[in-house]
């Protein structure tokens, strides 16, 4: 329903120009799930503490549970759904599978997008740099050792191209 409290925003979503009607209180995650059926980014804590709702906004990871949809006007948004194809995965996705860097998989989209963003700015990060960058993502299954390995493997894969 369009009312005085909604506005139309235009932005790029996973490479396409799109528009959406959003209320001023709608978060990015609510809009992505309700209007675009993109459920890869999940709301978990709703407080920006767990990183499960991570999406890339103009290349930077943001917590979709806190970021208001209206602020995404004019932005370029990438969600986990845009990475790779089923038969040609992104190097970070490949590395996560090869290292077994998950158990239940709930946190995985957030970790992969955070790792993607790290490698875009720092292609050969040290262990400490990886840990610092991923400290905003939580994994209840405790797959952190494998996640660390996976990011290092992804860095090597990306280098090879």
């Amino acid at each position: 329903m369009i009312s005085a409290t909604t506005r139309t925003i235009h932005f790029r979503l996973n490479g396409r120009a799109v528009s959406a009607e959003v209320a001023s209180h709608h978060t990015l995650i609510e809009m992505l799930q309700a209007q675009f059926e993109l459920t890869g980014a999940r709301e978990s804590c709703g407080q920006g503490l767990c990183g499960c709702c991570t999406v890339l906004l103009d290349g930077k990871p943001v917590s979709g549970c806190l970021y208001l949809a209206a602020f995404a006007d004019g932005a370029d948004i990438v969600t986990i759904e845009h990475l790779g194809e089923p038969d040609r995965l992104d190097p970070v996705q490949e590395a996560f599978i090869e290292c077994g860097a998950f158990q239940c998989g709930y946190c995985t989209p957030g970790f992969i997008l955070s790792a993607k963003s790290l490698l875009a700015t720092n292609p050969q990060p040290s262990d400490d740099e990886i840990k610092d960058y991923l400290s905003g993502n939580l994994c209840r299954c405790g797959a952190y050792p494998e996640i660390l390995q996976a990011v290092k493997l992804a860095a090597r894969k990306s280098k090879r191209g």
Partner: protein, 125 residues
């Protein structure tokens, strides 16, 4: 531990279980007020993050579980058993107090030290 049908998953289960128990051992405590959990958020109830993980090595000792599927048996939570006693032992070794209740927080250690010195901290109600 039975026949590891997928060794990679067995390893992840081991370090994952140990990591979860590390949280229960050091930081995770539900605070209840009249049956209501009053710290039901990740801001007030901290769980282990990537900085909390010590270096870990997982080693699988294979065996054949005759009544398990393909000789396997469940590996979930197997690695939880040793974490709390190991850390409690380390605290006892370091400062001489034996704490038998989780979590092993700095406050719990301080209270145990004061009790041992004959100056227990009274609980305020």
């Amino acid at each position: 531990m039975g026949n590891p049908i997928n060794p990679k998953i067995v390893e992840t289960q081991l370090s994952g279980a140990a990591t979860m128990q590390l949280g229960f051992t050091l930081v995770e405590k539900m605070h209840l007020d009249g049956g209501q959990v009053v710290n039901a958020s990740l801001a007030d109830y901290r769980i282990p993050g990537i900085h909390d993980i010590p270096p870990m090595e997982n080693e699988i000792v294979e065996a054949w579980q005759s009544n398990g599927p393909f000789g396997a048996k469940g590996v979930g939570e197997l690695a939880t058993f040793n974490v709390s006693p190991a850390i409690a032992n380390a605290i006892d070794d370091a400062v001489g107090v034996r704490i038998t209740e989780l979590p092993l927080t700095p406050e719990a250690i301080f209270r145990a030290l004061r009790a041992k010195a004959g100056m227990p901290i009274e609980d305020r109600r």
